[in-house]
């Protein structure tokens, strides 16, 4: 993709790779995040999610490949004015007050001094820290630090916000608040890159997602596309011999749980054929139900397929 095409996207990477010594952290990441969408970057621990975000914000240098953020090559200085970033593991200067931390980031981002006060007040309000604005950060709990980090990431109305595990230290109320903030960001046209291993979080807020494992994308698309790629049907049946059960493998990836048989990857139009075959084999069918696949099921299946 040319840089001009990349300008219409919030993020675009082409075969982006990162190696630390002999360890491959990211191998050939190719993906696109559209403007004003919430994009989930999902993967198990050690899949390369944090490395990918660090490459995008210029904290680490790629060993191969290319990437563009808001149309500019990754690391571009002036583009960073329009970025918000919440690192996964971070701390702010404990000797500073929350308001001062936000002020420092206003200053570093090149915001006009006249706007600071308003921006800081908005950020504090958004993350629920208005009452603690003049307290030193060293007295903050982990969750409050994370809220402050989120506030810092939202300063100056960024066009793209990259959140690396934003709810890892938060209680259920905090997680709910973060989801609301992400929805507000989307409503005002901000693209959100959400790095997470919390499936429910991704499922609830993301428009599209990429599943990453061992440093490469193994699936990408909208939630419906990711979930819909693999229909599944559960059948409650008795009276089938082991040989007959084995003979049903052809209808899909079979999971035998005793009375319940689950067929993955079975197209809806083949369900009557399957039931007919079970009956011909002497089976007694009590229930046939489509299996509603959760993101967790799909995620685990994708990882399993990848390992196979």
């Amino acid at each position: 993709m040319e840089a001009a095409d990349a300008a219409s996207l919030a993020v675009h990477t082409q075969d982006l790779a990162k190696r630390y010594g002999k360890t491959v952290a990211l191998s050939g990441l190719t993906m696109s995040v559209r403007r004003a969408e919430v994009f989930g970057f999902l993967g198990p621990n050690g899949a390369g999610k944090t490395t990918a975000v660090k490459l995008l914000v210029g904290l680490a240098l790629p060993t191969a490949g290319e990437g563009w953020v808001l149309g500019a090559p990754i690391g571009d200085l002036s583009t960073r004015r329009h970025l918000g970033y919440l690192p996964e593991l971070f701390r702010y200067q404990g000797w500073m007050k929350a308001r001062e931390v936000l002020g420092l980031h206003c200053e570093l981002s090149g915001m006009a001094r006249s706007e600071w006060q308003k921006e800081i007040a908005i950020a504090l309000d958004l993350v629920g820290l208005t009452d603690r604005a003049d307290d030193k950060v060293e007295g903050f709990s982990k969750g409050m630090q994370q809220r402050l980090g989120l506030g810092v990431a939202l300063l100056g109305r960024p066009e793209l916000v990259l959140l690396d595990e934003p709810t890892s230290a938060l209680d259920p109320v905090g997680r709910h608040d973060v989801r609301e903030i992400i929805r507000q960001l989307k409503a005002r046209g901000t693209a959100v890159f959400l790095n997470s291993h919390l499936l429910s979080e991704v499922e609830q807020v993301c428009d599209r997602l990429a599943v990453v494992d061992h440093g490469r994308v193994i699936a990408t698309g909208t939630m419906a596309q990711i979930l819909g790629q693999d229909g599944a049907v559960r059948v409650r049946v008795t009276g089938l011999s082991p040989v007959s059960r084995a003979g049903l493998q052809g209808y899909g990836n079979l999971e035998d749980e005793g009375e319940w048989l689950t067929f993955r990857g079975l197209a809806a139009e083949r369900v009557p054929d399957l039931v007919g075959e079970i009956v011909r084999q002497g089976g007694r069918v009590y229930a046939v139900e489509p299996r509603h696949e959760t993101l967790e099921d799909r995620f685990l299946q994708l990882l399993k397929d990848q390992q196979a």
Binding site: Y20, K54, V57, G58, L59, A60, L61, L77, S78, R80, R81, L83, Y85, P87, L89, F90, R91, Y92, Q93, W95, M96, L104, H105, E107, L108, S109, G110, G149, V152
Partner: protein, 282 residues
Amino acid sequence: MSRVLTIARLTVLEASRRKLLLALAVLTVVVIVLTSWGFSRLPTMKDVTPAEVRLAASQLTILVAFMFSGVLALGSTLVAAPSIASDIESGIALAILPRPIRRSELLMGKWLGLAVLVAVYAALSGLLEMFGIWLGTSYLPPNPVAALAFVAAEGIVLMSLALLLSTRLAPMTGGVIALVLFFVAWIGGIALAIGQAFANDTIINIGVGSRLLIPTDGLWHGAIFYLEPSEVLAAARAAGRARAGNPFFAESPLPFAYLAWVAAWLLAVLGLANWSFARRDL
């Protein structure tokens, strides 16, 4: 440039908020009061002549300056060695560097802030101490301002080295290496003086090598020269080999070529620090 100043201001503010400046100020005032009282006792000693008071005061001034230069060198190392390394370890750097700030601006901001702290401390503590000595003995070294400038430069040189190490090494490791090099350079300076007194080329080469690689001791000798009254210089020169290896004596001012070398050394160390930090994955 404005972002360099922002980080420099932050560095000074941190030293102030963490009570480093307060602790230094209190301890320094205590030391100055005590030493000034000690100096004021010199003229009251039995049968002492004004020339003897002047001689004793000049030598003690050099020793006090050595103590301050040591405090400055050790202090600036302890502050500089963790400056980048601990920001990386704690994640502070992760939060700041995705902002539109170059890594070189962060590094040079830290350097500038620390350099200001070193220079202000050297100037204030040095001038106050000299004033205390003058009150007690009426003695003033020939050129206190030049001497203090060299003491400050020594601190800045060691701080810059610690900052370079801080871009790659853990705070403790960088700090220990910088301090070991500081003391090795000090011994190297003594070796140089002994080599010169006995005209031994090998020892001279080792001493010159150490003075070029780590210029702290060279700068310390630059400071000593401006603290030596002419009669002390004349007497020491007359003593010949007997003064060999005295780490508190400098026969001549630092040559211009050496000062140019120190400036080039400083630029090279800062260049290397920027190069190293720019290429580090965080």
